[in-house]
């Protein structure tokens, strides 16, 4: 299976550069997810790999073969589009077999392949229907089937689930994960939905403003985000950021901010040696704040509840700590009332520390285990 490599890939539309030299390497049969907010360049990157956009600078290699000057059809790719991009005048079977028919493969082989894939995707009863006669989920499945009938080395997905409603999206996401287990090909998947990224990816590439922010396994990115953007982008509810200063009084050192003052241990102090007397930014995942009325004040945050969002077993509380907003997760059956002050215990090792000057994670707190991080 060939691997894919992007080397200094850039894209300009007129005078505006939207991609600033992307370097990326994908291993064999890896499921890579490009994720980022709209306009971050992820779709453009995918379309350049597909050959639907020209490359302004840099090169794309599949198995060390430069392909950026090749026509899409010569790149050995299959693609699933956001709006499915089915051929409206062809029935499901014709849609799925279009590429094979263009290649003038024997009819028997085409029929066999189409039935095989239709079987896998549960489309056998719909082969004679036109796309307009199918529901959204079925159309999405046909689009996937069309990609699968071709034995391409690489599959590209351009936000394939974003036109589906929430329930269907969850279901199709599971089907995609299943398909992933059966089909061992290179897959590059673009999405703005971080849950899709986290659940499907072998490797996540977080993009922002035409740059790669960080790449690595979902776990590595979640646990050791390299900067505030990645930290805030991955995880729901998003990470809380609190401004703090390092204060020493005598033999104890504390991280203090508006409405809180946390005691520091020696290891943290060593890491923060260069930052004494400087401001830092604390990153705290909502799930790392544990409700504990008995917690000592210097290992806890005291938060006043403004809004409680009930979402089932868990509720998301939107609180404030001094003037700063903080979100926490809490079991819904915990008896609390709005306006109440609650104490949440916090373990120092769960803290993320960022340098407010450049929003980078403070060295020592990131990349301890991750080798993928930049």
């Amino acid at each position: 299976m060939p691997k894919i490599r992007l080397d200094g890939l850039s894209k300009r539309f007129g005078d505006t550069e939207v991609l600033h030299g992307i370097d990326l390497e994908m291993e064999d049969a890896e499921f890579t997810v490009l994720v980022g907010p709209s306009g971050c360049g992820k779709s453009t990157t995918l379309r350049m790999i597909a050959g639907l956009e020209t490359v302004s600078a840099g090169e794309i290699y599949i198995d060390e073969r430069p392909i950026s000057r090749l026509e899409p059809k010569d790149r050995d790719l299959a693609m699933v589009f956001q709006d499915y991009a089915l051929y409206p005048h062809m029935n499901v079977a014709k849609n799925m077999s279009f590429a094979l028919r263009l290649q003038k493969r024997p009819r028997k082989e085409i029929d066999q392949k189409v039935h095989e894939v239709a079987e896998m995707l549960g489309l056998t009863n719909y082969l004679h229907r036109k796309p307009a006669e199918l529901s959204g989920g079925q159309r999405q499945r046909v689009a996937m089937g069309r990609a699968l009938t071709r034995d391409s080395s690489t599959f590209l997905f351009d936000e394939p689930l974003s036109n589906l409603d929430a329930k269907l999206r969850t279901q199709m996401r599971a089907e995609l994960a299943l398909m992933r287990q059966r089909v061992h090909k290179n897959m590059i998947y673009v999405t703005h939905d971080q849950i899709e990224a986290m659940t499907l990816a072998d490797r996540i590439v977080v993009m922002h403003d035409g740059h790669i922010q960080q790449e690595g396994t979902p776990e590595a990115l979640f646990k050791q985000p390299i900067n505030k953007f990645v930290a805030g982008f991955l995880g729901t509810p998003p990470m809380n950021f609190l401004d703090a200063t390092i204060e020493s009084d005598g033999d104890s050192t504390r991280l203090s901010g508006d409405g809180f003052s946390l005691c520091c241990d020696q290891a943290t102090l060593d890491i923060l040696a260069d930052y004494s007397s400087r401001k830092i930014c604390l990153g705290i995942r909502p799930s790392d704040l544990i409700y504990d009325p008995q917690a000592a004040a210097d290992t806890a945050l005291t938060l006043q509840v403004d809004i409680a969002e009930y979402i089932g077993a868990q509720s998301v509380l939107i609180c404030h700590c001094g003037h700063q907003k903080v979100m926490v997760e809490l079991k819904s059956d915990t008896p609390i009332s709005l306006g109440e002050k609650l104490t949440f215990r916090l373990a120092l090792e769960d803290l993320h520390l960022f340098n407010p000057a450049n929003d980078h994670a403070i060295p020592g707190f990131v990349a301890v285990e991750s080798t993928d991080s930049q």
């Binding site: 693609m79 991009a85 229907r129």
Partner: protein, 304 residues
Amino acid sequence: MNYSTINRITPYIFLAPAVIIMLIALLYPLGYMIYGSFRDWDPSQAIGESTFIGLGNYISLWNDPNFHESLTVTLKFAITVVFIEMIVGVGLALLLDRNLRGMSLLRTMFILPMMIAPVVVGLIWRYMYHPSIGIFNQTLEKIGLGSVDWLGQHALMSVIIADIWQWTPFIFILSLAALQSLPRSALEAARIDGASGWQQIIYIKLPLMMPVLIVTCLLRLIDAFKVLEVILVMTEGGPGLSTEILALRISRTATEFRELGVAAAMSNYLLMLLLILTIIMLAYNKIQELQAVRLRMAAEKEVD
């Protein structure tokens, strides 16, 4: 009167002025023509003074070789021009459907002929076709190919060329609009699926444009059957009856031959022909609509 009655009749009150104007402007002349077609009617007579002759006008036309000739010329003309215009118009649209610098200017230039008044088009072409001072013959002679008797021996071909020049843009703009409304992603999918430029046209673009192309073709056919001014100015139907299309023959029957009843009957024959085309077109639209509804219903029934 209560509110629900008022609500029910309000739309009809608003429609009334338009309906009345239509009745006067459309149905009255039409009825007058149909009535007249059953009578032996000279322009000097009031219609009441003319004699009723039943289907006499229709029967004599049915057996009239000149009418047959005129009908044949009309059919030949209409079918040839529409056929060629469709090919050239759609071809141009496929060619110019891209975003290059200056393309919008080029497109505007392409549709200019359609905006020129038919009489002016007729005059322009008559002078270009002129045996001695026309640009065509002068050019041909300059390059040593000898002159062509455009509006004499090849009169039908010459008027066909002029019509193609004038009306290809109509098909061009409609095809271009159809092309530009095609789903871009389906075309991109076809590129990735390995379709070459030609294969994209044949397997994706043309089939998807078909509904628009069929309606365009029928509209243009209806129009081509009624063509008059350009040919009147260029050849006046001559030489002989070689370019005498039906509309021209109707006008001559009424004015030169002074047979209003026959002219009316001939108009009705033409009307019937066009009616058939129009019904085909409306039926086609209706079928498309019903099909879309059926597809939508099927899709709604599907639950994942």
